[in-house]
């Protein structure tokens, strides 16, 4: 296994007209499961392809441990990859598909047989070895692709949205299976996805990308609780974090945030962080799950809270949760409450905000202040 280091990695297409990846700096630790997360077109696949050697970088360096692999062809890198469309070769039986990497690397025949058997059993496709890919379901083909990728025990395992072509139910099972497999094999893994739930549940760390730039890297909870920018804050979490324009005011009671139709007084430690922004407009972000409605539900572990008033506008009942849309000064703010909550529409309510989980962003740089 090996540590992968990307240094100022760049990739431009069409003579620099498309900047797919910009100055990417990222270290993937030995044995780590790193998820590369971002919306479609943000440069995830391009980054992965550069790590694999299928794409030559426009600039920057790629290190596998202390080996500079930047311009090495894929075959000299000891990597494996699971492709988005699986790329399971249709003219080879499952056995031959899985055995291919071993045959190319000239393993002895009996070891090939053993390893294919090992990989196939690990992925529970032992009975399918004699079939052609056309005879398999999507999920089975996906397993073949994974088996093929792990059979040589690569130093680095790359996966490009491997679950995006599966149906929702299968995706959930495969998520857990791939994660368990990786933990067992301890192979350094880069996993690309645009699905934030996948990223949260699978990654040891998440690297969030947008428009070719790396925005934030950290463990899932950190990226969730301490997003460093508006993009990361809204991209992670569902329903999306509520965003409101507010201005920073100095009152007798300390620093407060004034929004349309509400005033949110801040504890002094938070308020001090905003001292440079007094009388300026900033963006306030609160996750739906960090609010509740007085008399309906309580928030656990809340140390400091504030109340604002709103009117119930719409109810989304999801069974396990209820999303209450409330109108606060002409803007919709969503609140996520556990269980089934029957509140009449049009009712005036008091909304409790967990002040230790609010976020404030600079309106111009979109970076987090709190």
């Amino acid at each position: 296994m090996v540590e992968v280091k990307l240094e100022n990695l760049k990739k431009y297409f069409d003579n620099g007209r498309v900047k797919a990846v910009n100055d990417l700096n990222l270290t993937i630790r030995d044995g780590e499961f790193l998820v590369l997360l971002g919306p479609s077109g943000c440069g995830k696949t391009t980054t992965l392809r550069m790590i694999s050697g299928l794409e030559e970088p426009t600039g920057g360096k790629i290190w596998f441990g202390d080996r500079d692999v930047t311009y090495l062809p894929p075959k000299d890198r000891n990597i494996s990859m699971v492709f988005q469309s699986y790329a399971v070769w249709p003219h080879m039986k499952v056995y031959d598909n899985i055995a291919f990497p071993l045959k190319v690397k000239k393993y002895p025949e009996n070891e090939i047989r053993e390893r294919v058997k090992w990989a196939a059993e690990l992925l529970q496709i032992g009975e399918l070895l004699d079939r052609y890919p056309a005879q398999l379901s999507g999920g089975q083909r996906q397993r073949v692709a994974v088996a093929r990728a792990i059979v040589v025990e690569p130093e680095v395992l790359l996966m490009d949205e491997p679950l995006s072509n599966l149906d929702a139910k299968l995706r959930v099972t495969m998520r857990a299976e791939i994660k368990k497999l990786q933990t067992k094999l301890k192979v350094t893994t880069v996993y690309v996805t645009h699905d934030q739930v996948e990223a949260m549940t699978m990654g040891d760390r998440i690297a969030v990308m947008n428009k070719g730039h790396l925005l934030q890297v950290g463990p899932p909870t950190e990226v969730y609780l301490k997003p460093n920018s508006i993009f990361v804050a809204t991209f992670i979490g569902a329903p999306e974090m509520n965003m409101m324009e507010v201005s920073v005011k100095e009152t007798e009671a300390g620093i407060a945030l004034e929004g349309e139709g509400f005033m949110l007084p801040l504890p002094s430690d938070l308020g001090e962080l905003l001292r440079n922004h007094i009388n300026k407009t900033v963006i306030l972000g609160i996750r739906p799950e960090h609010m509740t409605i007085e008399g309906v539900s309580t928030l656990e572990h809340v140390k400091r809270a504030a109340k604002i008033e709103g009117v119930v506008d719409f109810i989304e009942a999801l069974g396990t949760d209820t999303i209450v849309h409330t109108m606060i000064g002409g803007k919709i703010v969503k609140i996520k409450l556990p269980g089934h909550i029957p509140i009449p529409i049009g009712e005036k309510v008091k909304i409790i905000v967990d002040l230790d989980n609010i976020h404030v962003f600079d309106r111009d740089t979109e970076k987090a202040i709190i």
């Binding site: 894929p74 075959k75 070769w89 249709p90 003219h91």
Partner: protein
């Protein structure tokens, strides 16, 4: 009432085409068999004897088969190389591609005459070589005493003209192979040759099969190019059929040669289909 009519609609739509093909392919077959085996109101092998004992028959059969055996495999290899090269992105690709496919819309008569301007005794090649001082007298390629040279020339010109058929089929097949299949092989450690041998060519198998089948069958009826370049110096089956019908007016012998070509084509078609099934295509569904 309306329901009842619609049951026959599919057949009514197909029927004209089928009847037409019956008239223009089925009927001549029967007519041909009659011409060959039927004489003076009864079964007769006289025509067959006449056809087989014709001085030109065995050479024609031999030449036709030799041309097929030499030309088709050679052009398969050429076409594969061309297609692999043209599947890349490079400067000048469009010009190269356009030139390569021009023969596709060129008749074999035209191709033969075009090459005559290069190869004739006063043609481009001879004049060029003489003026470069490489030779002193023109290289003679035409005339029945230069039988071997004529044969090689035919192979050469036919390669120039008809390789494009395979090329186009293989290139179209190549363009339909998902790039990910090839990249996957690359990632798992395969070099260029391994990718070619283990991934690209197997995936091209259906294209290669059809291309080979088509070319082989076309090559059995090789005629125009032979006729304009070397005439009957190198007799071929279709040429003899033409000669018998237009010059000798022996329709029976002409029909025999034509039927022979048809039968050889059908046989090859069946053999090809039997031998070269791509297994993974068969199991689909």
């Amino acid at each position: 009432m309306a329901k009842k009519v619609s049951k026959y609609v599919p057949y009514l739509l197909v029927a004209p085409a089928l009847i037409y093909l019956g008239i223009f392919i089925g009927y001549p077959m029967i007519e041909g068999i009659k011409l060959v085996f039927y004489e003076n109101g009864g079964f007769s092998l006289a025509t067959v004897h006449r056809a087989i004992n014709n001085y030109y028959f065995w050479p024609a059969l031999r030449n036709t088969l030799s041309l097929v055996v030499i030309i088709v495999p050679t052009q398969l290899i050429l076409a594969l190389i061309f297609a692999l090269a043209m599947n890349k992105v490079f400067k000048g690709r469009n010009i190269a591609l356009t030139l390569l496919i021009i023969p596709m819309t060129l008749s074999d008569i035209a191709a033969g005459l075009i090459w005559y301007s290069i190869l004739s005794p006063s043609g481009f090649m001879n004049k060029l070589l003489i003026n470069l001082g490489l030779i002193h007298t023109p290289i003679q390629l035409f005339g029945y005493q230069f039988h071997t040279r004529e044969f090689i020339m035919l192979v050469f010109v036919e390669l120039w003209r008809s390789t494009v058929t395979i090329f186009v089929i293989v290139l179209a097949g190549l363009q339909m192979i998902s790039q990910e299949y090839i990249e996957a092989a690359e990632v798992f450690g395969a070099g260029y040759w391994t990718r070619l041998r283990r991934i690209i060519i197997p995936l091209l198998k259906p294209s290669i099969q059809t291309a080979l089948l088509l070319r082989t069958i076309y090559a059995f009826s090789i005629f125009g190019i032979v006729w304009v370049l070397v005439g009957r110096d190198i007799p071929v089956l279709a040429g003899e059929a033409y000669y018998q019908v237009t010059q000798i007016k022996d329709y029976g012998v002409g029909a025999f040669y034509a039927l022979l070509i048809a039968i050889m084509s059908l046989t090859i078609g069946i053999i090809y289909l039997r031998l070269t099934k791509a297994e993974y295509l068969e199991v689909r569904r």
